[in-house]
Amino acid sequence: MARGLSLYVEGDSPLHRAHPFTKGVLTLSAIAVAFIAPSWAWVVGIGLLVICLQLIAGVFRRFLVVAITLLAPITVLLLIVQGLVNPANRTVVVPAGGFSLYREGLLIALLTAARLVDLIAATFLFSFATRPQDLAEALIQKGLSPRIGYVVQSALQIIPQTLEMVSRIQDAQRARGLETEGRLLTRARAFIPLLLPVVLSSLVATQERAMALDVRGFGLPGARRQRYVLPDSVGQRVLRWALVALVPAAVVSRILGWR
């Protein structure tokens, strides 16, 4: 049966050992600065930094696959649309009458795509090197309601179970003659016969699950805040604050005319 859902890759790099908040702040700062910084140098610089970290954590190849899959269609669209109608357009590069592509728009499109690469890279850096339960534990230790922590942990198990159920129901319905290929209308008609059984199955046990949780003391206010220790250090705390400070610094620089 399917296990918990996560991108986590087992490993023992300094990044793996870092506290989840350190990685989280690193990711968010990198993304924020990448989008605030006006020039290519910064965007590329951040990208390279993140990729180096990925290489350290051993996750670069997986990231590459995902990044290309996600970004290829969007980049094409960006190039076309911004090349056509970006407000800063002046210089024609591909002459085609009313559908000419302009240099400024194309460059902006590429800059946007590069920023998105940074975004995906930074996020995957976090996802690949952090166990979901470590993140949940860190948040709960900092004050997140343990019931919300439970929601996340439970969802991570329920999602793959539900997807498996979808697959089983698809097979069963197809065996009963449900058409899932062909014209749009045919395919669209198959949607509810496939989803409704999944919903029914999923809801069936909710009342019992809730009762069983209550019986075990779920929701008691004195819940233990710490299940296990997440290694942290002064150095990491300082690093986190420094990374956080980068963001308003970048915003201010931008306002003061950073080019």
Partner: protein, 277 residues
Amino acid sequence: MEVRPVLALRDVRYRYADAEREAIAGVSLTVSAGEWVGVIGPTNAGKSTLCYLAMGLAPHFFGGRLRGELTVFGVDTRRQKVAERSTRVGLLFQNPFTQLSGARERVSEEVAFGPEWHGLPADEVAVRVGEALRLVDLEALAERHPLDLSGGQLQRLALASLLVMRPELLLLDEPTSQLDPAGTNALLQVLAGLHRSGTTIVMVEQKLEAVAALCPRVVALADGRVIADGPPEAVFADPAVEESTGLPAYARLAKAAGLPPPWPVTVEAAEKAFHRA
């Protein structure tokens, strides 16, 4: 010397929200410490509702209307929430799968789920988890993912998750109905051990042979009322019980063979009865 009963109902009536008839329609019952009471009856007799009442799920979880006096360890159930009660009372449901928290990836962590919600310190939790797993004979599987376990093992895991809180009263709502014979036997053996060490058990069961063999006291319900209450032989000699619920196989056999009531309800008693006849 008066000992406070573990579970005391006095003229209790309970109706679920949006229901027409009362699920429990005037039940008075007392269970003392250390008893093992088997609760039998046809469908909709109110057996599960009795468990829910003792646990507090009725009325706290279901809403509905509760009348009469109902105390568990002397505390009125209306005053205490279900989660607060869970240090002294446990309730095991039928379905092994739906009792999993769904948020833990190892058997040992699953058992620790309850104590964590109660705020117990980590070393205490570790001790209790080991203890509970030993009681249900699942120590060998402590590091496995819960979904790797069979139905019977999962039901024992669910029981361990309750025992970890060291409850004095254990309620069971048809705990073996979804288990195969091997799983059933394993679970009943654990319960027998708990009974020997003094846990009070109230067990709703359809397997009349098991009830007759294990429970020194049987309470028969029908239509939300108690129709018989006593040792198994006496209860199964009552024609009202036979009509609403049935008889254990041995009793049916003895009756069919023409033996006079009270009929034997266990293997050993049947053997003796047939010898004499």
